[in-house]
Chain length 152, copies 2
C-alpha cells in the first residue's frame, strides 16, 4: 500500500497497530468511523486501545493520507484520500448525502490563494443544506403552528 511507504518515508514507524488501522480503512468501502475501526482491529488483536486508533487517525490525517468528515451523525468518519477526491452535500431534512466533485471547490481554493494568500486544505468537505427534493417542502413549512414546526 502506498500509505505505508509514505509513513516510513516521513520517518514514522510502521507499527502493527498502524498497519491494522490502515488495512481496515483501505478495505472499507467509503467512510468508516473510529469506533468501527477499533472494533475491527480488535477482532485481529484484542488489546489495541481506542486512543491508539485515534492517534493513528490523527497522524494519517496530518499526512493527508485520509480525510476526516463530520456528516452530522454525532461522530466523525474517515476515508482514504487516494480514491477519486470528492465531497459531500448532506441534507439537513432527509439526512441523505450526495457526493460532489472536488472540481467545484477549485475556484474557491484559487480565490482564497489569490485574495488572501491562504493555501486551503480542502481534503473533505461536508456541506449542510437542503437537497432538491426537500427544498420545496421546507419553503412551505415556515410558520410553526402548522403541523410540526419544521423540526428537522
Amino acid at each position: 500500500m502506498s500509505c505505508t511507504i509514505t509513513l516510513q518515508q516521513k520517518g514514522y514507524r510502521l507499527t502493527p497497530q498502524r498497519m491494522m488501522v490502515l488495512d481496515i480503512i483501505h478495505d472499507s468501502k467509503g467512510h468508516i468511523s473510529a469506533e468501527e475501526i477499533h472494533q475491527r482491529v480488535r477482532q485481529r488483536y484484542p488489546f489495541v486501545n481506542i486512543s491508539t486508533v485515534y492517534r493513528t487517525l490523527n497522524l494519517l490525517k496530518k499526512l493527508h493520507l485520509i480525510s476526516e468528515t463530520d456528516m452530522g451523525e454525532g461522530y466523525v468518519r474517515y476515508e482514504l484520500l487516494e480514491r477519486g477526491r470528492h465531497h459531500h452535500l448532506v441534507c439537513r431534512r432527509c439526512g441523505q448525502s450526495f457526493a460532489f466533485e472536488h472540481e467545484s471547490l477549485k475556484p474557491l481554493q484559487a480565490r482564497l490563494l489569490k485574495e488572501y494568500g491562504f493555501a486551503a486544505d480542502l481534503d473533505h468537505f461536508a456541506i449542510f443544506g437542503l437537497c432538491q427534493r426537500c427544498r420545496p417542502a421546507e419553503g412551505k413549512a415556515g410558520a410553526r403552528e402548522e403541523s410540526q414546526r419544521g423540526d428537522d
Copy 2:
C-alpha cells in the same frame, strides 16, 4: 432584540434562560464558547444547567440566528448571524485566524444550487490551511528528519 421576536414568532417560548443566553451572545464581541456563555449566565442566575445552554444554542442555530464554528481549539464557538456575515481561515501552523468575506462563497453556493439543486447553508465556515506567512516555511520542512518533523 430581533432574535427574541423571531423566537416567539416561530412559537418557541422566550424563557429567562434563553433570554440570558441570547443577551450574552449579543454582548460578546466576536465568537464565544458554550462554557463561557454558561459561566456568564450563572453570574446572573447560578442554577442554569449547561445542557440548557447547549439546547438553547442548538435551537438558535437551527433558526439561523447564530452560527457555530469549530476553530480547531477543542471546543466550538458561537456568534450572532446578524452581524456582517463572514467566515474564517485558520492557519494550521501558527493558529492565527483571518476573516474572509461571505462574498467569496457565493459562487460555490450558486454552483451547488445550479448543478446539484442543493441549497447550501453556509452560515459560517472555518477553513483550515496555511496562511501567507507560514506557507513558505511548510514547503521547506518536508522531510521529518530535519528539526521537528513538521509537527503542527
